[in-house]
Symmetry: C2
Subunit: 316 residues, 2 copies
């Protein structure tokens, strides 16, 4: 094993990079903007240039780097071919080929969907440390997720594993989801989804709430008011948690992971959201699997770079 590894988490607005020692210590992290011009054709050469620069500054040769792991917000196969990545404008981008062209002496490349990489990062150095299996659910603009079993990411046959946000938790609801179907968890538990659901709930009752004077309000407003004890906000959070607890019980009936990790912006609400999720999960989960811990993610935005480095440093 060479002494260094690099994790590269490509997002729609910025690329996060991390230089790790082979024992998993994050030595330095930095960001560069994601330039999506020309279908994002310059992103990987920007990454290569930035890596070269950082290594040069530290006097590290590329031959001392074990590998570079990539997290991409889209579907990527086991050959590092990004089939489609709408946010970056990518279609059939071969990461290995592009990086080999832009980075002389490029070491081996590994890649994964960004949510899967983040899950692996949390298992490696975050809330899931010491567990061999974990499922992460990320409550952000959308609802993402990742499944790690026996220390390895499960990408799925069609790269759809861990897409917990698209479980149809309300099959009778016709509110359309971005995926083209309806009734998805994401419509109730993403930042946008909980605000939409809140507006519906407010319209259907007379319960007074400061939310009625805040338009438009955000998921953060709802969670803050719930923390302050506002009954309406608590009812909204409770309904969101009911769907989340139910969805996690479906995950448990499938793979029965060692831990559930809740990440993304909304997870910052903490126990006001996590406690009712735990209650609904226990209500729905099968036998002993109802004891599975549900915890907040710990690495925040760094989970991705950790997971990307882990892909290179682990044997998977």
């Amino acid at each position: 094993m060479k002494p260094y590894a690099i994790g590269v988490d490509i997002g729609g607005t910025s690329v996060k990079l991390g230089l790790f020692s082979s024992d998993g210590t994050l030595m330095t992290k930095w960001e560069i903007p994601t330039i999506t011009d020309n279908n994002g054709s310059g992103i990987l050469s920007d990454v290569a240039h930035s890596i070269s620069q950082t290594l040069a500054e530290r006097g590290i040769g590329i031959d001392q780097v074990e590998g570079i792991g990539f997290g991409v917000p889209g579907a990527v196969d086991e050959n590092n071919l990004v089939l489609s990545c709408v946010n970056l404008g990518w279609k059939n981008v071969d990461i290995t080929k592009e990086m080999t062209r832009s980075l002389p002496g490029c070491p081996r490349i590994r890649s994964a969907n960004d949510a899967n990489a983040a899950t692996l990062g949390e298992v490696w150095k975050g809330s899931g440390t010491g567990r061999s299996s974990a499922v992460m659910i990320t409550l952000g603009t959308g609802v993402g997720g990742g499944v790690v079993l026996d220390g390895k990411i499960i990408p799925g046959t069609w790269l759809c594993a861990g897409e917990i946000g698209h479980m149809k938790v309300e099959p009778g609801d016709n509110t359309p989801c971005n995926c083209g179907k309806s009734g998805c968890l994401e419509q109730y538990a993403s930042a946008k989804g909980i605000a939409r659901m809140a507006r519906d709930m407010l319209a259907q009752c007379d319960t007074p709430s400061p939310l009625r004077d805040m338009d438009p309000f955000t998921a953060k407003d709802i969670c803050s008011l719930a923390q302050e004890g506002d009954p309406m906000a608590l009812a909204i959070v409770d309904r969101c948690a009911a769907y989340l607890g139910l969805a996690l019980s479906y995950v448990a009936c499938t793979v029965d992971p060692g831990i559930f990790i809740v990440g993304g912006g909304m997870s910052r609400a903490g126990d006001v959201l996590l406690d009712p999720i735990r209650t609904y999960y226990r209500k729905n989960a099968f036998l002993n699997s109802d004891q599975t811990p549900i915890v907040a993610a710990r690495l925040g935005n760094d989970a991705g770079i950790y997971g990307c480095a882990c892909m290179v440093l682990s044997t998977q």
Copy 2:
């Protein structure tokens, strides 16, 4: 690799045994009754005796057997310790210890839950041949299931993986399930569950049906009438399939397997049940995973012995 392996599928009324060559050919299969007297304390010595006898008849020495795989209808850990198995009266039964005591020269032992073993059997030599991942759902007295990823059984942290029958597909329904909770898939899609649901549906409408003159009717009666085109029976099968298709979509959002295999007595109904399951699955599944095939199991009651032998012959 030694030239033979043995699969032992322990059921509540009989134990199925199979002698396999190391290339996976079933050379002979036989059954012995499951004697559950004295908390099933004689079951494993009966198995040992029967194996000795069959090997002797064929002039095969126990030293030519690579191993013996066991499928048990309960929770069994990675050390072949059966934590609990209500149907057999077992509690904390150490299969390795018992077999070593009863079978001189006993080769290595592997074990799994019977539904998981059956899934592995179908992947190895049945409907899932050639796939590295599959999820099986077994529609029998209850609804069981198993998850095989990368050729290996996923038992789960609490041995609850593959318990698809206990997904709460109707969280608002208070009909109690054997698991102690309610709204489980098993309450709608097991042989008993579909009959119960049918009685409820018949009570809530006036649609004429031969079912009204058959009391008590069975799951088989419902499926036979559906095959004959009886509208009421078709409506019952459709509702059952709606729950099954939804549950399989939850499985796909978690692990996105290469194939779904439907087994158990009710799967003999064939396409009258499988076609609507496929339709509802496609309606609910995420993106490309809606293409995942849903097929009938092929090995019937032999799936267990195949899976048990596979555990010994594969590297898992």
